[in-house]
């Protein structure tokens, strides 16, 4: 297969998969009644967003953005080295940690709600009006 078609396929695979993950997650969040299931769905959404960001940063035939000794050797020999975009990777590192923080707080809230109402079903926890 030529380079161009492969690129086309990869475009659809990566963008399509990550957006599908986001939509599947959203579907779970909006239709599921179980609180833990809702948090699980959100973690799928987060994964989708992260994959999307990383795919945006990829550059064809790029190497990881690390000037390791072997790469420095290549540079000294005059071979040009193309590195992938490091910024989305830094952003995703931040996003993963933030996602973990939110998940932890959400799960703690679920435990407290369960002790209070003895259920994890969102329909049975309705002391407050929406």
């Amino acid at each position: 297969m030529s380079e161009l078609t492969i690129n086309q396929i990869l475009t659809y695979t990566f963008y399509g998969t990550s957006l599908l993950l986001i939509m599947i997650g959203f579907y779970g969040v909006l239709t599921k009644k179980n609180l833990i299931k809702i948090m699980l769905s959100f973690s799928i959404v987060d994964s989708g967003v992260n994959l999307l960001l990383i795919s945006i940063g990829y550059i064809n035939n790029g190497t990881a953005p690390i000037f390791s000794p072997s790469i420095m050797e290549k540079i000294h020999k005059g071979i040009s080295v193309q590195m992938v975009d490091p910024v989305p990777q830094a952003l995703v590192l931040t996003a993963i940690v933030i996602g973990f923080g939110v998940t932890a707080v959400g799960l703690a809230l679920i435990v407290r709600l369960y002790r209070h109402h003895n259920t994890t079903n969102i329909d049975e926890i309705k002391n407050l009006k929406w």
Partner: protein, 83 residues
């Protein structure tokens, strides 16, 4: 990327989508949680292919291990079945 790698990526993507649908639809929360750690595992491989080893390491450590553990602990303290 080579043709072989592309084929592997497509297979991985398919598994990813199937597993995520399974996670959203399965009634047993513990099983769903374990399945969701598979998502992180495949994603971590994807990050490696996309030349992001730092992110791959983070996803493997946080997504596969820690997130799964806090979910399991929460399920242990609440109900396992979704009704």
């Amino acid at each position: 990327m080579t043709t072989l790698l592309t084929a592997l990526i497509i297979i991985g993507a398919l598994i990813l989508i199937i597993v995520s649908i399974y996670v959203v639809s399965h009634k047993d929360l513990l099983v769903a949680t374990i399945a969701s750690s598979i998502i992180s595992l495949i994603l971590s491989a994807f990050y490696f292919v996309l030349q992001a080893p730092d992110v791959a390491l983070t996803e493997a450590a946080i997504g596969v291990a820690l997130t799964t553990i806090i979910f399991v602990v929460t399920i242990k303290n609440t109900k396992r079945e979704e009704e």
